[in-house]
């Protein structure tokens, strides 16, 4: 294990690499989206771990202290619940990767720049910035604790040198500005070099302060706090394509915000019944259309998706389109409602399709066809017979996310036992991969895994009963233009890259 010295003077170092990595190839990775997942081979780029004792040190911390802190970093034994990653998101260029965890922290990784000296390091992600986004709060009126867990992070497109992202917990959305500082002013008249005030009587000459280069520092500051607008738990945020507004969705309502205005928001969807006893469904996810700033979709716990047009009316309670697949009566069970609840909805990059994830399947819908999805992929249908056990251990309530690749040709979602699945929409091939510590060697090639559903189990197959349901991959992200994926497994973040032949 080699501890790499800090290259950036981040406020707090929380990342430890596990050894020198090889770059996938020497040349810049070509846009390999078109190869899909079937032809490509996936290799591990790096596994990133955020240990518990992250001390949010001051920005002026020196290198020695950082090294001491690094040496205290342990491996997995430190993992606590606060380290469980709860959201993963690439920014629009893929240069930055943000993760949020249950402890309310946001850790941003930056992709290693390609350089002649260290060609092999291209493709790795290093910690860029870490900050505490949300703190646990207590509602004294209700005697209720508000979790600090980061539910979602969404990046804003970059418009200047700084990066902006939205992070949200159950109740409050915050806009963070992440900026670099590589110069500092020197030569003050009233302060000496250590910052102590000088006696004005001793000043005989005046000078103009100048900016001198300093070690790069990344600082995160909260620029906006959007609070007190949600009675229920926020499950989604989505930045509009106009880059001026965004929406936040909780169980029963969706609010539209302007980035500049924090003390009010517009309510655009309200499905709260007049009588709560009549409640039959809740909102589970919502997203703006990638190009049309007036269009958004939201999914429900009943397995339906509604597409709304904000031009139609101020309150979009009446949908423009309604996507629902009739239920298969042969599959009816006690848990039919639970497994049909949609846990994630994502527009394709083209904006022509939406993808939804329910407990057992991923479905792709064409916006022009409301009565059924155009594609349905079984993620782990072998669990259908185990729904009762999964209900008992609460796994049936897990909310898996799903992602598109850059060209909308491949979709990916997570499963149990640290498995994640990719489906190639064109070749109709799928693959199951595992994000595990055993495969953590550099450039380790991921071997496709297979779950044995019955009968004779082959040598490298795993039987359904051996699956570890505590290891679940709920959050994944795909680089917007390259075949780089980030997979969050509990407190580990795995980054895989498609090995180009």
């Amino acid at each position: 294990m080699v501890l790499q010295p800090a290259e950036r003077h981040c406020g707090d170092w929380s990342h430890r690499r596990l050894g020198p990595w090889c770059s996938p190839t020497g040349s810049p990775a070509p846009l390999s989206c078109e190869t899909g997942c079937g032809e490509g081979t996936w290799i591990l780029v790096c596994r990133l771990l955020v240990p518990t004792q992250v001390s949010l040190l001051s920005m002026e911390e020196d290198i020695d202290t950082r090294k001491i802190n690094n040496s205290f970093l342990r491996d997995h034994s430190y993992a606590t619940e606060a380290d469980i990653i709860s959201t993963v998101e690439f920014n629009h260029t893929g240069e930055l990767l943000a993760t949020g965890d249950k402890g309310g922290r946001v850790v941003i990784f930056q992709r290693e720049q390609e350089s002649k000296n260290q060609v092999h390091r291209r493709g790795e992600y290093n910690v860029y910035s870490t900050f505490q986004s949300h703190e646990p709060e207590f509602d004294y009126l209700k005697s209720l604790e508000i979790e600090e867990k980061i539910n979602k992070i969404r990046w804003l497109p970059q418009q200047n040198a700084a990066y902006f992202l939205l992070s949200t917990n159950d109740k409050t959305v915050k806009l963070w500005k992440v900026s670099e500082r590589d110069k500092r002013p020197e030569g003050y008249n009233l302060k000496d070099e250590e910052g102590r005030l000088r006696d004005p009587a001793t000043i005989t000459t005046l000078r103009v302060p100048v900016l001198r280069p300093m070690d790069l520092m990344v600082e995160a500051t909260p620029r906006r706090v959007f609070a007190n607008a949600h009675t229920y738990h926020i499950n989604s945020i989505s930045v509009n394509s106009d880059y001026e507004t965004y929406m936040s969705a909780d169980d029963l309502r969706i609010n539209l915000w302007n980035f500049e205005i924090t003390n009010q928001s517009f309510n655009i969807v309200d499905i709260k019944p007049a009588n709560m006893e009549e409640l039959t469904e809740v909102i589970t996810a919502a997203e703006f259309h990638p190009h049309h700033c007036n269009t958004f979709v939201y999914s429900s716990s009943k397995g339906t998706i509604r597409l709304c047009d904000m031009r139609a009316s101020a309150l979009c309670d009446r949908h423009t389109k309604f996507f629902e697949e009739p239920e298969d009566p042969s599959n009816r069970s006690f848990f039919s409602e639970i497994i049909s609840s949609i846990s994630d909805v994502k527009f394709s990059h083209s904006g022509r399709c939406i993808m939804t994830r329910d407990y057992l399947t991923v479905k792709v819908w064409d916006l022009n066809m409301e009565n059924r999805p155009v594609e349905t992929y079984q993620v782990h249908d072998y669990l259908r017979s185990k729904l009762c056990s999964l209900y008992e251990n609460d796994c049936i309530f897990d909310k898996f996310e799903c992602v598109w690749n850059g060209s909308d040709s491949v979709i990916m979602t997570g499963s149990y036992n640290n498995f994640f699945r990719m489906f190639d929409r064109n070749t109709k091939r799928d693959v199951t991969l595992e994000a595990s510590r055993e495969n953590s060697k550099p450039r380790a090639i991921l071997k496709p895994r297979k779950v044995c559903v019955g009968g004779k189990r082959r040598k490298d197959e795993i039987s359904v009963d051996s699956l570890d349901f505590s290891k679940k991959i709920l959050h994944t992200a795909w680089h917007p233009s390259e075949n780089i994926i980030a997979v969050a497994a509990t407190n580990n973040l795995y980054i895989f890259q498609d090995k180009v032949n």
Binding site: K142, M276, F334, E337
Partner: protein, 327 residues
């Protein structure tokens, strides 16, 4: 039979989840509780519709259970089940059922689309359709399907004492049947709140219901420990829920002996908890529908910034979760 056991088990598990949700960090998760309530309702439907004669009544060994369901819906409970108690038995069968309560029953009764549940559905429809009906009549119809599952040993009095669903004001959740205490204690206790508790273990004086709306008369006429509507009625659900897990285990062992009692309890429990967001816990400050309805606007007004666990908001989120949450 297996379905019944399975449904029973699922009900127990679901109730345990609802109970545990109150102690989870971050407050009650509306989505999860909604799903759990849907499971509860499905299990209840299966439970009630699964034709297993002999499981229903100890006192009516020959009474066929399923065939009655179609008839009940039409004309109230069949004679074999005994007459529903006259409304006078309840001190305050008031006005027609308030609007908010209507959805509760139809919600439950209407949910199924399978054949066995059709009767339940029909009952629900009649109830719903009869907005202007006399409360008594509506009550009878509602009672019909339920009574199939009730351990109605002893006759109408005991049975009636348990299900005050139907037209009743939004009183406190204490479901103590007025004046029926003696009978109830003698008979196998049909306790709406306890799924699968062995009969022997049940304190006879315990109020039958945690989270059911009861008429004011119910409250007034209940046993001594039946508290006035308000905060204390909430204690019932917690107590009952707490006893749930233990009771479930014990019940499983003693199932053969306590079949009918347990079934009745579960049925009651299911009927109560299973009606997903029925007006289980309509908290009324002083009792009285008007106040309860007035409270409805309270949560609306108080929403911004509120999360849950407040009385009005509790009610909004999940009535019987709120009961549990209140503690």
């Amino acid at each position: 039979m297996e379905f019944k056991l399975e449904a029973h088990r699922i009900v127990s598990i679901s109730l345990g989840k609802i109970y545990n949700s109150r102690v989870q960090r971050g407050g009650i998760k509306l989505h999860k509780n909604l799903l759990v309530s849907l499971v509860l309702r499905s299990a209840r439907q299966v439970y009630l519709s699964d034709p297993c004669p002999g499981l229903y009544l100890a006192g009516h060994p020959g009474a066929p259970a399923p065939p009655q369901q179609p008839e009940e819906s039409a004309a109230g409970p069949p004679a074999g089940w005994g007459e529903p108690p006259p409304p006078a038995g309840r001190a305050a069968w008031p006005e027609p059922e308030p609007q908010p309560e209507r959805p509760a029953v139809p919600e439950v009764l209407r949910a199924g689309d399978s054949e066995p549940a059709a009767t339940v559905t029909a009952a629900g429809d009649t109830l719903q359709g009869g907005e202007a009906e006399a409360p008594e009549a509506a009550w009878r119809r509602v009672e019909g399907p339920r009574e199939t599952a009730v351990g109605g040993a002893g006759g109408p009095a005991e049975v009636s004492g348990v299900f005050p669903e139907g037209p009743e004001a939004a009183r406190g959740p204490c479901g103590c049947p007025p004046g029926d205490e003696d009978k109830l204690s003698a008979a196998p206790r049909v306790d709406g709140c306890r799924a699968s508790r062995p009969a022997a273990a049940e304190p006879p004086a315990s109020p039958p219901v945690c989270a059911r709306k009861r008429g004011a008369g119910w409250v007034g006429g209940g046993p001594a420990d039946c508290p006035a509507p308000g905060s204390t009625p909430l204690k019932k659900p917690r107590r009952n829920s707490e006893e749930q897990p233990g009771g479930a285990a014990a019940a499983a062992e003693e199932e053969e002996e306590e079949e009918e009692m347990e079934t009745g309890n579960v049925a009651n429990l299911i009927s109560i908890f299973g009606s997903s967001f029925s007006g289980l816990l309509r908290k009324s400050p002083g009792g009285g529908r008007e106040e309860a309805e007035g409270e409805e606007s309270g949560p609306e007004a108080a929403e911004p910034g509120q999360i849950c666990c407040d009385k009005p908001v509790l009610r909004d989120i999940n009535p019987w979760s709120t009961a549990i949450v209140a503690f």
